[in-house]
Every structure is written in structure tokens, then in C-alpha cells.
């Protein structure tokens, strides 16, 4: 077998959660040997984050081996459970530095240094070591020691402020910087490896995830500095295209519905409790059956606001778990809904709320982006040339931008009768940019392009079971990426201590006895 790209490169990995482990996961995919240092007494915190297949990790299975996200970000690594709170643990870590080419860590600024594992210390063991520290705001400056997560850093780096609708609060966007910073980190490491090959010199890399992230804001930073314009969020709109946005589509699954019938006052009380007793449930307009009947339209709207975020199975579970269960049923298929229509849809004088409520999974979307006037003509033909598509006010980009508020609902009224896949293929056949707004299922299981590229690889883990690891977005023609499952905690203790450090069985046993190796 041909030599793998990073074969022979040895990485001592102290990193946690995403921003660090993502770096070594990419290195492992190309053949680097990555030894992850963690411990049972202070487990890598991501081991406790889930998702777990059954939501409740069974007690006979140690929970720290079952976290799905840990499994994804630690593929192909070896695990040594080493207690760094113990001075001998630190000594062993130093011996491993002598073995390593690269050391990675992403604790809050200065923590590893205080443990005696700072760069200066490590160079005494291995003068040409390359060490990368990646923390929120860098190792120096007044905010160096502040711990944090990517979900918060996106606020400081300005990404939240440019995400969402102009008339609303910023959207919650997740840990965006956690997925950006590790790519900068690996670029830095590979450049430093090249420099060391040429000069023999190692170095220390202090990567602030804040500073790296700001590079993705660059044009907006310059706009502020030069034009004093403060960028804010603009929904899905852009100056260069209209229509440009996400439009609702028909579900590819059948619509999902549940039926709820609240007969008695006790059931109404239960029902409100299940909803978490939001203030509106205490409103006098809903306090009696009669009042609820009078305000049924608003009541139903409010209930739907709640059910629409849940699977019907969730609704049933919650309604049944309370002291006085609320009558509830899942309507599984369109046909079932049809058949249930008389008892469910018909308003009952005795039962309010009473009806079928839309649940999650009918929420399907497609994006469309029309840039040029030619594309606009193609778009019109693709949707069957309705009269509005020929209106002069929409004929030019400037016109479409001016009338965007009227245009978007017209587009949506067409898309809503099609599945997102239909919209995408109709539009793309007409050379208009469009794509499915992919759910987790679309990305992981359905997208034929991502399948073709084998971005997600099935792995078998003794405790997680079957799951998918992820390879980088690039294919090197001569160096395929290969990944293996994530390690169990301490799975490679013997390998690390005996094979790498040459310890005897007795020495290893002693370390275990003393709680240094766990």
C-alpha cells in the first residue's frame, strides 16, 4: 500500500470539544498518528454532550464512550487516559512530547502552561516541537484567560449580528467559529511543518479563534472602516439577485398531524400544563369551554404554534404523561387524516380545542436565486408563465428589487405546491440557481452529491453502534482520506505506555494502581 500523506507524523493532542479535535481529526484522516490525552477523572467534556442513541445512556455502559458528537470529532485517534492533575501524569506527558512532532491544545489561555506543559517547557524536551494553542481570544491580552465556547464567540465575532431578519433579534447560528478556526489551525501547522523541514526550527502558534474568525467578516470590517457603515442582518436578501431566498415547499413525507380533543376542565388544566402554562393560557378568553369556543380560531393558532415544533410522537407522549391525560392521537398518513376528518375537523360543541394540528416535518423549503434578467425569463417559463411573471414591474433586477415584498409571496405561492426536490430540478433545468434547504437527514442520508464524494463514512463503534464520521471537503488525487471510529476512553493506554514509551507491564500496573493512568 502506498504511503499515506501524513504517515509518520505524530500528534500529541490535548484538545477538547470541537475547535481542537477537528484539527487532529483531519490529520488522522490523512494518516497522522494522533494520541489523545484525556482522563477518567476529568473526561474530555464533549464525551458528556450526546447525542445518545437512546437518550438515556444505560448505566452498565460507561456514558463517556457513547456520545455521538465526540464520536464524530475524534475519528481515527488513539486515547490515553492520563491524569494530568498528578505530577507523574505531567512527567509522562512530557515523555510523550519527545515522541511527538506536534502538540495541540485548546484550553482557556494559559492553563496548560500552569500545568507545566507550556511551549518553553516542551522545547526543553524537544527543541523543534511545533505547538499550537487555540483558544477564544488568544494567549495574551486582557481577555486571554476567558474560557468559552464557539456558540458564544459567534456573538463577539459579529456573525450573529449579520444573521436573521432585519426586524427581529439575531438568529441563533450555532458554533460557527468552531468549524472555521480548526481549518486555520491546520493550515498554520502544515505551514510550520514545511518551515521546520527547511530550517530545522519548530515554533509556537497562538491562534485566537476570534481573530481567525474575523477574517470571514473582512469586507464588512473594511466597509465600516472606510464608509462608516455598520453591517446588519438582511434576512435572505442580497443586492445582486431577486427573487433570492428560501421558499416553502410541500413535504416529501406526508404532512404530519396530531389530533387533540380537550373535553373536561381537568383536561384543559392538564393541557395547559403540558404547554408549560404560557401566559396566554391564563387569559380569561380561554378560561371556560364557552370562552374557548368563542375564541377558537386564536386558540387553535396558538396550539399550532406549539405542535408545529414537535413530532406527533412527542405531542402524544407529553399529553399522556400528565396526571389527567389529554385525549390525543397521531394521524399518520394523508389517508388517515382524510378518514379522521369528520370527527376531528368538524368543530365539536363539547370539545375545545378539537382538531388536527400541523406538526413538524411539513416544514420543507427550497432556495431560489435569480440574478440576471435572462434568468428571470427562464424562471417564468419554468413555472408555466403565469401572468404576474410577465409584469413589467418585475422585468428588471431593479424592478424586482423594488417590488421584492410583492414578488416573494408570488414565488412562495408557486413553490408551496411542489416538493423542494421538484423546485430544484425544474429551476436547474432552466439554468436558474436553486437548491433544497437540506435537513440533517438530507445531508447525511439523501444528498446524492455528498454520497458520491463519500463525505460521510459509516463506522462501527462498540458502544455508539453504527454512525458516520466525516472526511474533509477536498479530494487529493493521490492521497485518499481514510477514517476509523473514535476511541474508547483509555483504549490505547497499553500501546502508548508500552509501545511508545517502552514501559514494562509492572510499571504500567503501578501507574494504574496509583491513579495516574486511568
Amino acid at each position: 500500500m502506498a504511503k499515506r500523506l501524513l504517515e509518520g507524523m505524530k500528534v500529541l493532542d490535548f484538545t477538547i470539544v470541537i475547535a481542537g479535535p477537528f484539527i487532529s481529526r483531519m490529520m488522522s484522516a490523512y494518516g497522522a498518528e494522533v494520541l489523545k490525552i484525556e482522563s477518567r477523572s476529568h473526561p474530555e467534556i464533549f464525551r458528556t454532550f450526546g447525542p445518545y442513541r437512546d437518550d438515556h445512556p444505560a448505566p452498565f455502559n460507561p456514558w463517556y464512550n457513547r456520545g455521538g458528537a465526540f464520536g464524530v470529532f475524534n475519528t481515527g485517534k488513539l486515547s490515553l487516559a492520563l491524569n494530568l492533575m498528578h505530577p507523574r501524569g505531567v512527567e509522562i506527558a512530557k515523555q510523550l512530547v519527545a515522541w511527538a512532532d506536534i502538540v495541540l491544545e485548546n484550553f482557556a489561555g494559559g492553563i496548560l502552561k500552569r500545568m507545566g506543559l507550556g511551549y518553553e517547557e516542551l522545547t526543553k524536551v524537544k527543541p523543534d516541537i511545533i505547538m499550537l494553542s487555540s483558544c477564544m481570544q488568544g494567549q495574551t491580552g486582557p481577555h486571554a484567560k476567558h474560557p468559552g465556547y464557539g456558540t458564544q464567540l459567534v456573538n463577539l465575532a459579529g456573525f450573529s449580528n449579520i444573521s436573521g431578519w432585519p426586524d427581529r433579534e439575531p438568529a441563533t447560528i450555532g458554533a460557527y467559529t468552531d468549524f472555521i478556526a480548526p481549518r486555520f489551525s491546520l493550515l498554520a501547522i502544515l505551514a510550520a511543518v514545511d518551515y521546520r523541514r527547511r530550517t530545522g526550527q519548530g515554533q509556537y502558534i497562538d491562534l485566537s479563534q476570534y481573530e481567525a474568525g474575523i477574517h470571514l467578516m473582512s469586507p464588512l470590517i473594511l466597509d465600516n472602516e472606510v464608509n462608516h457603515r455598520v453591517a446588519t442582518r438582511m434576512g435572505n436578501r442580497t443586492a445582486y439577485a431577486a427573487p433570492h431566498g428560501a421558499y416553502p415547499c410541500r413535504d416529501r413525507h406526508q404532512d404530519r398531524w396530531c389530533a387533540i380533543g380537550v373535553y373536561t376542565d381537568e383536561e384543559w388544566q392538564s393541557f395547559c400544563k403540558v404547554l408549560g402554562s404560557p401566559p396566554w393560557t391564563k387569559d380569561a378568553r380561554f378560561s371556560t369551554l364557552r370562552a374557548r369556543r368563542e375564541n377558537e380560531a386564536e386558540l387553535n393558532r396558538r396550539i399550532e404554534e406549539w405542535t408545529v415544533n414537535l413530532l406527533p410522537e412527542d405531542v402524544v407522549q407529553r399529553m399522556q404523561e400528565v396526571d389527567v391525560p389529554v385525549p390525543v392521537a397521531i394521524l399518520h398518513t394523508g389517508r388517515e387524516l382524510e378518514e379522521h376528518t369528520p370527527p376531528v375537523k368538524r368543530r365539536s360543541p363539547y370539545t375545545v380545542p378539537h382538531g388536527a394540528y400541523r406538526c413538524r416535518w411539513e416544514d420543507r423549503w427550497c432556495v431560489i436565486a435569480v440574478y440576471t434578467d435572462e434568468e428571470w425569463l427562464s424562471f417564468g417559463r419554468a413555472i408555466g408563465s403565469p401572468p404576474w411573471a410577465k409584469e413589467p414591474r418585475f422585468a428588471t433586477l431593479a424592478g424586482r428589487k423594488e417590488h421584492e415584498d410583492e414578488l416573494d409571496p408570488l414565488v412562495a405561492a408557486w413553490t408551496v405546491n411542489h416538493t423542494p426536490e421538484e423546485v430544484m430540478s425544474l429551476m436547474q433545468a432552466a439554468r436558474v440557481a436553486a437548491g433544497v434547504v437540506a435537513t440533517g437527514e438530507d445531508v447525511m442520508d439523501r444528498d446524492p452529491q455528498l454520497k458520491h464524494r463519500r463525505v460521510f463514512r459509516e463506522l462501527d463503534h462498540p458502544e455508539i453502534g453504527k454512525y458516520h464520521g466525516i472526511v474533509p471537503a477536498f479530494d487529493l488525487s493521490k492521497c485518499p482520506a481514510e477514517i476509523e471510529r473514535a476511541p474508547l476512553l483509555g483504549e490505547h493506554n497499553d500501546y502508548a505506555l508500552k509501545n511508545i514509551l517502552g514501559m514494562s507491564d509492572e510499571e504500567v500496573e503501578e501507574l494504574i494502581r496509583e491513579g495516574i493512568v486511568e
Binding site: I214, H215, L222, N236, Y247, V436, G440, Y467
Partner: protein, 415 residues
């Protein structure tokens, strides 16, 4: 430091030919900042991304695009029409002395011009060619039209973002997808260079922007078959929890975290409020050890939130940031670009860097090194090139094309 002063950088020995449009430009910028000699090859008249705003003083002009400025620092610039045979000949001459070619044309375009990897690899077996395309070189979607919003949506980063009652929403302004792909392209280029040092061989690298966007994957679906809906926090959808709070001059994001995770930090936050006399008894006496959203009532949440809201409202973003750092509490205010430019931490670390723009009679401040290196800091060695700014330097001084021939090429629309 003068804009064009030469310093031994991390990647000094390498030459990069950058034929990308906005889809891959960040790759060349990164390699250039790391010290590589990056030559931006633009079609005559300039790269289309020069027409992307925002513009310097809002003057729409291909020499004043701030988008172009941002992602083309540390590059020299030449114009070359590679659609013409003479242009292809010149590019091939340049390839002989190059290490990397980065391009972002549609799949197959470079092959049709006889400039594909199979052609360039024959001229220079060590050449590494990195192609950045929306979906990759092969596969069922390779020819689809895909601006940022399509790639963002199809990479799975849009569906769960936004409010429950509105469509999924992308990140506003310029393409984030393209920048991520440019970053991956730079990474892949360094990997391929590493391989070349081991084997002496170049290779072809196929970067897919959709796959770059999809890197987080979705283990919630993979493991639990759950789709994350929009606008729901994940703890307990039947109660309303504040996440984004108004403060004196903006917004701040804070959630009382349940479980092990929250015990220390929630208490630390309440202590901070208390030290300013703003924590009420209910909050002070609250038992964080058994705090869990699954069985909480809205009333309890409301009682936790009322004093919290008053506390945030009585402070500015900066006061809250400094307090969060001091008390080691995990939250940040929502910064905009002004806040970022004025950040004390960034200036304390000497983050910002300047580049002279003599033709504009000004100096512009840019985001500085993406990381601090003890030996070889990356730096903006020059501002983005003007259209054809280094034609003479590259064609005449380096390739030795004589003046009259250059003139002919210019008249023929090649350069």
C-alpha cells in the same frame, strides 16, 4: 512597515498561480500572507469579483471593491486571456516555475483549454493543481448553478437557523461558503506540498464547496434521527426562555445552563449581580444543583429572568464583556463591526495591520495575522493588486518577453 518590503516568510520558496474568482480567492490570500509568491491571474479588464460591493467611498469601480481588497492581499496581479491560444502558451510558461495552480472555473473548463491537470502535470510533474467548484469535479450535481445561498442551504447550514414562523435564513452579505472553501483549498494545497516533499510528485486536488459547508454534519440525525427545528432552543419547547437580552446599547446572549455545566457559572453570574445589589432573593436562594428545564414552570423562569433583564438593561455591551471576563462567565455581547474595530483585546494583541493604497491616497486597516507564530508571522505584504499592475514585472522581467511582443499581445487582447 513598507507595504512591499520582502521578509522571509513561512512559505517563501513557493509560487502560486491564482486563477480563481470569488469562490477560491481566500486560498491565495492565505498562502500570500504566509509568504508565498502569489500571482493573481485575471482576465483582461479584471476579475468579475472586482464588481462586488461594498466599494471604497461607495464608488462602484473595479479598482475600489472592498470585497476584492479583503481577499486579494499579498498577491501580485497580471491580466491574461487564457481563452486564447497565446494566453494558454504564456500560462504554461508560468506553470513551469510554479508550485501551485488554484482555479475555480466550472468542472472541465481548464481541460477544454488544454490547461487541465493532465496537461500541466506533463509540463511540470511537481505541479499541484487545486480546483474549487460548487459540488466538485464529478458527481450528479457537478454542473448545477450554485451561488452562496444554494450551497449554504444544500450543505445543511440553513434549515435550522432562523425563527420558527419564517423561512430558514442564511448569513447575510458576502458568501461565507466560498471563504470556507478557500480555506480548505489552502489546507489541501499544503497537504499536497507535504506529499510532494516525500514523493516528488504533484497531484490534483478537488475541493467541493458544498462539502466544505457540510463539515459539521448532523449527529443528531445520524444517531437519533431527529431534525433540529428552527427557533427552538432544545431544552424544553413548552416554556419560553430568553436567549437574547437587551442591554443599554445593544444585545447580549445568555442562557441559564442546566446541569453540571451551569452550577458554577450560573452562581457566579448571580454573585456578580448581587455584588451590584441587583440579584433578588429568589435568584440568590435558587438551587442550581437541581436546575433542569424539563420540569420547570414558566413562572419560575419568569422569576429568574426579571432581575436578569434589569441587570442587563443597566449595563453597556462593554461593561458586560469586561464583567464576563472578570467573573469567568460564559457569555458575550453581540458585537457589530464597530465594536470589533474598537475591541481592546484585539488592539492589545496588535491584531490590526495596515496596507498603503497610494492610488487612493490612503492607508486601510485590515484584519491581521490569522494566528501569531513565534518564528514567522503571516502578514499582509501588499494591498490587493490593481488590474494588470504587475504585467511588466512578470512578463518582461521574469519571462523575458520583449516590449514589442508585449504590445502585440496587448493589442490582440491577450493581456
Amino acid at each position: 512597515m513598507a507595504a512591499s518590503e520582502k521578509v522571509e516568510g513561512m512559505l517563501s520558496p513557493y509560487r502560486v498561480l491564482d486563477l480563481t474568482d470569488e469562490k477560491g480567492q481566500f486560498c491565495g490570500k492565505l498562502l500570500g500572507d504566509l509568504g508565498a509568491d502569489v500571482i493573481k491571474v485575471e482576465p483582461p479588464g479584471g476579475d468579475p469579483s472586482r464588481n462586488l460591493g461594498p466599494f471604497y467611498h461607495d464608488e462602484a469601480d473595479p479598482e475600489k471593491s472592498l470585497y476584492w481588497f479583503a481577499f486579494n492581499t499579498s498577491k501580485r496581479g497580471i491580466t491574461l486571456n487564457i481563452e486564447k491560444p497565446e494566453g494558454q502558451k504564456i500560462l504554461k510558461r508560468l506553470v513551469k516555475s510554479a508550485d501551485l495552480v488554484v482555479e475555480s472555473f466550472a468542472p472541465g473548463h481548464m481541460d477544454r483549454l488544454d490547461l487541465g491537470y493532465s496537461d500541466l502535470g506533463k509540463l511540470n510533474p511537481g505541479i499541484i493543481m487545486v480546483s474549487v467548484t460548487p459540488f466538485g469535479q464529478t458527481g450528479p450535481y457537478r454542473d448545477l448553478k450554485a451561488p452562496d445561498i444554494v450551497l449554504w442551504a444544500m450543505g445543511g447550514r440553513m434549515y435550522s437557523v432562523g425563527d420558527a414562523d419564517r423561512p430558514p435564513v442564511r448569513m447575510s452579505h458576502h458568501s461565507q461558503a466560498y471563504i470556507q472553501a478557500g480555506l480548505d483549498a489552502a489546507l489541501a494545497a499544503m497537504m499536497a506540498l507535504h506529499y510532494r516533499h516525500i514523493t516528488g510528485e504533484g497531484q490534483f486536488v478537488d475541493v467541493a464547496i458544498q462539502a466544505a459547508v457540510a463539515q459539521p454534519g448532523d449527529s443528531n440525525w445520524d444517531i437519533r434521527k431527529r431534525i433540529q427545528p428552527r427557533g427552538v432552543g432544545g431544552f424544553n419547547p413548552s416554556v419560553q426562555i430568553m436567549r437574547t437580552w437587551p442591554c443599554k446599547d445593544g444585545l447580549v446572549t445568555w442562557v441559564y445552563m442546566p446541569g453540571e455545566f451551569g452550577i458554577k457559572r450560573n452562581a457566579a453570574f448571580v454573585n456578580w449581580m448581587d455584588s451590584e445589589g441587583m440579584a433578588e432573593d429568589f435568584l440568590k436562594g435558587f438551587d442550581w444543583n437541581n436546575f433542569d428545564y424539563t420540569d420547570i414552570t414558566q413562572e419560575t423562569i419568569d422569576r429568574l429572568e426579571a432581575p436578569t433583564r434589569r441587570f442587563f438593561m443597566s449595563h453597556t455591551k462593554l461593561e458586560l464583556l469586561e464583567g464576563a471576563v472578570k467573573h469567568r462567565i460564559l457569555f458575550y455581547p453581540q458585537f457589530n463591526t464597530t465594536d470589533i474595530l474598537e475591541s481592546e483585546q484585539l488592539s492589545a494583541r496588535g491584531y490590526w495591520t495596515e496596507a498603503e493604497h497610494p492610488e487612493l491616497g490612503t492607508t486601510i486597516t485590515y484584519p491581521g495575522p490569522f494566528a501569531q507564530f513565534s518564528q514567522t508571522p503571516p502578514r499582509v505584504s501588499r494591498r490587493a493588486p490593481l488590474i494588470g499592475e504587475h504585467n511588466r514585472e512578470v512578463y518582461q522581467d521574469e519571462l523575458g518577453i520583449p516590449e514589442p511582443e508585449l504590445l502585440k499581445l496587448k493589442q490582440a487582447g491577450v493581456i
